[in-house]
């Protein structure tokens, strides 16, 4: 499996979690399957909404964008594109920053941890590392003096 394929897989897993949390937030799912932490406390806090939408719904937008980007990066001519690698690092980097902020809120403001949010944060962090390695693979050709 290539690095971009791995990012796509991680994005799909993240997307499923975001859909799950959004369904809970909208009432379609009655209770969260939460064996560790206090998912409900986090999901019902005022921090679970961002710019008028549930944070989980923003997660759907984020992971769909990441999935689309990663999938486009494994297609034909784009497979060697450095621009895709840069975009992947930028998007996953943003995801890491946002997840870090959410984790900070969970630990120090809400004082409760949502296991699904933690899993999402781990996924996006792994995706960032993989995207970074992918960018290194797609570095521009170097020039060197011949001996």
């Amino acid at each position: 499996m290539s690095k971009r394929q791995l990012v796509a897989l991680l994005a799909l897993l993240g997307l499923l979690i975001a859909i799950y949390l959004t369904l809970y937030k909208t009432g379609a799912i009655a209770e969260l399957n939460c064996t560790v932490g206090s998912c409900e406390t986090v999901q019902t806090s005022r921090w679970a909404t961002f710019l008028g939408l549930p944070v989980a719904a923003w997660g759907i937008v984020f992971y769909v964008a990441l999935l689309a980007l990663a999938l486009s990066g494994v297609q034909g001519s784009l497979a060697e594109s450095r621009a895709v690698s840069v975009a992947l690092v930028a998007v996953t980097g943003w995801g890491v920053v946002f997840s870090a902020w959410l984790t900070y809120l969970e630990l120090f403001v809400i004082h409760a941890i949502c296991q699904w949010c933690v899993v999402s944060a781990i996924l996006v962090t792994i995706a960032f590392v993989v995207a970074w390695l992918d960018l290194r693979d797609h570095r521009p050709a170097e020039t060197a003096l011949s001996a």
């Binding site: 499996m1 290539s2 690095k3 971009r4 394929q5 796509a8 897989l9 799909l12 897993l13 499923l16 859909i19 799950y20 369904l23 009432g27 379609a28 799912i29 009655a30 209770e31 399957n33 206090s38 409900e40 406390t41 999901q43 019902t44 806090s45 005022r46 494994v74 497979a79 060697e80 809400i110 409760a112 992918d134 693979d137 797609h138 570095r139 050709a141 170097e142 020039t143 060197a144 003096l145 011949s146």
Partner: protein, 246 residues
């Protein structure tokens, strides 16, 4: 000058990749579907023994005690999905089904252990019931859930007392009732009743011979009522003399 090319990145096997992706998507979709428990499908309901009598003078009754279909809801004031049901779906149910005499709705307490303030909210409602204003307090409590729930405060009494004033209760009488936990035995009885019926989450509804353990839209709720109506016997299984009260 010689150009030094970086080795080409690994491309991965596309066929295997898409297979893995599809498998994850299918398993994930199935998990989500199971969590939603079928939505509109009546197959997601549990069939229960209709011979087990419904609660008698327990809970809080809305509507005609002799209505052809008598619905029981087990709910927790601190449960966000219950609040969603109470504020979004229930107004329609009251107007179109309760007020037209098709159903009665009985509210029963089932307290989720992880909700720190739910017992106090139930007590607040029980004390409002003493003054004949359970349903007004019920609505006020759910509407203000974000102000008194455990995520907002560890001392919900202040907000609950405000709500008692808002629904025009005799606040002094309400407060005495609340502080002395006057209706604690009734709340416990309701909890035990729910456990006896194997209620495991909220909201849970009993409509006819079906126990539905998830939130519903109005249309889904109505479909269960219609099914129960079609099989309703002349004499309802519930106690026809049931009155509003704990």
């Amino acid at each position: 000058m010689v150009k030094k090319q970086a080795p080409p990145p690994k491309r991965g096997n596309p066929k295997a990749f898409y297979l893995v992706l599809a498998a994850v998507a299918v398993i994930g979709a199935y998990f989500l579907y199971m969590q939603m428990r079928g939505g509109s499908s009546a197959a997601s309901a549990t069939t229960i023994d209709p011979n087990v009598p419904l609660p008698k003078a327990e809970g809080y009754l809305l509507g005609n005690a002799d209505a052809p279909v008598q619905v029981v809801e087990y709910a927790d004031f601190e449960c966000p999905v219950c609040a969603y049901f109470a504020t979004i779906t229930e107004p329609d149910i009251r107007k179109r089904l309760v007020e037209t005499g098709q159903i009665s709705l009985r509210y029963m307490h089932y307290h989720i252990p992880t909700h720190p303030n739910t017992w106090q909210a139930s007590m607040a409602a029980a004390c409002a019931n003493e003054q004949g204003k359970f349903w007004e307090m019920h609505d006020a409590i759910y509407n203000a859930q974000d102000r008194w729930a455990g995520t907002a405060t560890r001392k919900p009494k202040g907000v609950l007392k405000d709500l008692a004033g808002q629904v025009a209760l005799n606040v002094s009488q309400w407060e005495t009732c609340f502080d002395t936990q006057k209706y604690q035995p009734q709340l416990l009885a309701s909890q035990q009743d729910a456990e006896k019926r194997q209620v495991r989450g909220t909201p849970t509804f009993i409509i006819g011979s079906k126990m539905i353990d998830h939130n519903m839209s109005y249309d889904q709720f109505k479909a269960y009522v219609d099914t129960a109506m079609a099989s309703a016997k002349p004499a309802a299984p519930n106690d026809s003399a049931a009155k509003k009260g704990t």
